[in-house]
């Protein structure tokens, strides 16, 4: 959500430098392929989600967990702490839709390179990180260009 809102102030700059390739919220996206940076929000509640996270990890050079759920698991993981009555109340849903027993944060399953905690995430840290990536890629491209010309 805040990722979209950050574009209000930065779209003129970012849309020239960043290819928002697999953001379903922006477009009907192609099947996942190699990517430089993956931003992942939300906690992991099912095997299906875990598999998708592992796929993203295998395709992304850098993975960033954004928001409290991705970084700490909470509040999505609040059911991990439910008492027996609460557990019994949600059990039919967990079984019906094949939920995992416990909700997990991203780093429980894959290597996370950067994390931006908070609910909502800290927008200034997000902007800072994006600009850092852009600068790094710019430098990398300049070095590659230099190599090919010398």
């Amino acid at each position: 959500m805040l990722m979209i809102e950050a574009l209000n102030a930065h779209w003129q700059d970012w849309t020239k430098k960043i290819d928002f390739k697999y953001a379903n919220v922006f477009r009907n996206s192609p099947p996942l392929g190699p990517m430089d940076v993956a931003f992942v929000e939300g906690a992991i509640s099912s095997i299906k989600q875990a598999e998708k996270l592992k796929q993203i990890r295998s395709l992304a050079k850098t993975l960033v967990a954004i928001g409290a759920c991705a970084v700490t698991g909470h509040p999505s993981a609040q059911r991990n702490l439910f008492n027996p009555d609460q557990q019994a109340a949600i059990k039919p849903i967990l079984e019906k839709f094949s939920y995992n027993d416990k909700v997990q944060k991203l780093s429980d399953l894959v290597t996370v390179d950067h994390q931006i905690p908070g609910c909502p995430m800290d927008e200034s840290r997000f902007v800072e990180l994006i600009n850092k990536f852009v600068d790094e890629f710019k430098l990398k491209m300049q070095n590659e260009k230099l190599k090919t010309t010398t």
Partner: protein, 411 residues
């Protein structure tokens, strides 16, 4: 006539809030299956809230959804106040109206510009608009400016556009900075021409499909239907019947045994002297209704900010510590209902009805009608897929909200 047989499965529908899919089957020209599935996983908020302090309920329940967080805060505040017999001050009501206006502007703009507009231009994404083409540059600029104006209003009054920290049970803990008010007024006024352009493009939009459903909206403090039969907000829940959809993570509801519609189109249809073409039964006019509501929210906010003076006041406290109450508000996507039972200032039970859950059956019916209209012509799977997505987007569903928890007994 040729016989149509088709199976269509849409996974991860794009340009909507959260995850949803559709399973559709047509056999010998008859739609045999049309299941709109909300695929977001539940976070069980109505269970998790049990045992938590009532004063923290708005903040906790707002985590149901980032997009609609401020609406959840206000509905939960209202539910706690209703349970503890707190009557908020007139100033609090005005500030809450401004918080909602900020949300309407940002949320409707997000939906119309980022999700719907690309379909009008036959593009996949707003980010594919070409900055070098003046018209497309204008739409990009409009999109982010209008959203930003809504956010600035929310920040001024609520402290943040998402999960606003200022509103709380009984009032506000912070008041608008008077030096910022003229800046926000100027910002709101500056995007007015953009919103007029938005209204025009959706007025000219040719998409059309009529629906025959009751519309429900909050009107003069009561929930009214299309026949102008009105009920008290506190009686709302008992007029609805819960329907279990075994394939969806969300709960569905019927009103008088029929699917019903809540949201911008319902509000405009039931408004006193609505602008033409309202009242309308064209489901795609939900987009136009949202554009009109952005303009109304801007004009209302500017008028309030120009005339009001905000004085710090302490949140109203109650002498009661137990009770049951409900909070019903018109969130951008429609009627949002929170009911809380409080004992010794702790929440012991909760129920939440969100607009997308309430509209779910209506969405399915309209998809069926759309598909049936296609059965008489040449059926192109890709065209059908696209048109179904456009229809679903017109409803502006929010899956994060829809997949909170409600106790379900599976058959």
């Amino acid at each position: 006539m040729h016989q149509v047989n088709l199976d269509l499965s849409l996974q991860e529908i794009s340009k909507i809030e959260g995850g949803a899919g559709l399973d559709l089957s047509i056999s010998n020209n008859v739609v045999t299956k049309c299941e709109f599935k909300i695929t977001e996983y539940k976070r069980f908020y109505t269970q998790a809230i049990k045992g938590k302090t009532a004063l923290a309920a708005p903040t906790l329940l707002a985590r149901i959804c980032g997009t609609c967080s401020n609406a959840h805060i206000l509905a939960a505040c209202k539910a706690v106040e209703s349970a503890l017999k707190i009557t908020p001050s007139r100033q609090t009501q005005i500030l809450r109206r401004l918080v909602m206006n900020g949300l309407y502007i940002r949320d409707h703009a997000l939906h119309l510009y980022l999700f719907v507009l690309p379909d009008l231009f036959n593009k996949n994404s707003l980010l594919d608009f070409d900055e070098k083409i003046p018209e497309e540059h204008q739409w990009l600029d409009d999109a982010f400016s209008v959203k930003d104006a809504g956010n600035q209003l929310s920040i001024l009054v609520g402290g943040r556009s998402v999960h606003a920290p200022y509103p709380q049970v009984g009032g506000f803990n912070h008041f608008p900075d008077s030096t910022q008010i003229p800046i926000v007024i100027t910002k709101l006024q500056s995007v007015r021409p953009a919103v007029i352009r938005l209204i025009q493009i959706f007025t000219d939009c040719p998409w059309s499909q009529n629906q025959d459903v009751p519309y429900l909206a909050l009107k003069n403090g009561q929930v009214c239907n299309s026949d102008n039969v009105c009920i008290r907000q506190t009686d709302y829940r008992q007029h609805l019947t819960h329907r279990i959809l075994t394939y969806s993570q969300a709960s569905a509801y019927v009103y008088q045994n029929r699917p019903y519609l809540t949201g911008a189109l319902a509000r405009l249809n039931l408004a006193k002297n609505p602008p033409p073409p309202f009242p309308s039964h064209n489901l795609y006019h939900n987009n136009l209704a949202q554009a009109v509501e952005i303009l109304n929210a801007i004009d209302d906010s500017v008028a309030v900010l120009q005339s009001a003076e905000f004085t710090p006041e302490s949140p109203i406290k109650s002498t009661l510590s137990s009770g049951e109450g409900s909070g019903l508000i018109e969130a951008p996507r429609g009627i949002l209902y929170h009911r809380l039972t409080i004992k010794d200032m702790m929440v012991t039970d909760a129920e939440i009805l969100v607009p997308t859950g309430q509209n779910q059956l209506c969405i399915e019916n309209d998809i069926k009608n759309l598909v049936n209209n296609h059965l008489h012509g040449v059926l192109n799977k890709n065209t059908l897929r696209h048109e179904i997505e456009v229809l679903i987007r017109a409803y502006d569903p929010c899956m994060s909200c829809a997949s909170h928890f409600l106790k379900i007994k599976w058959a």
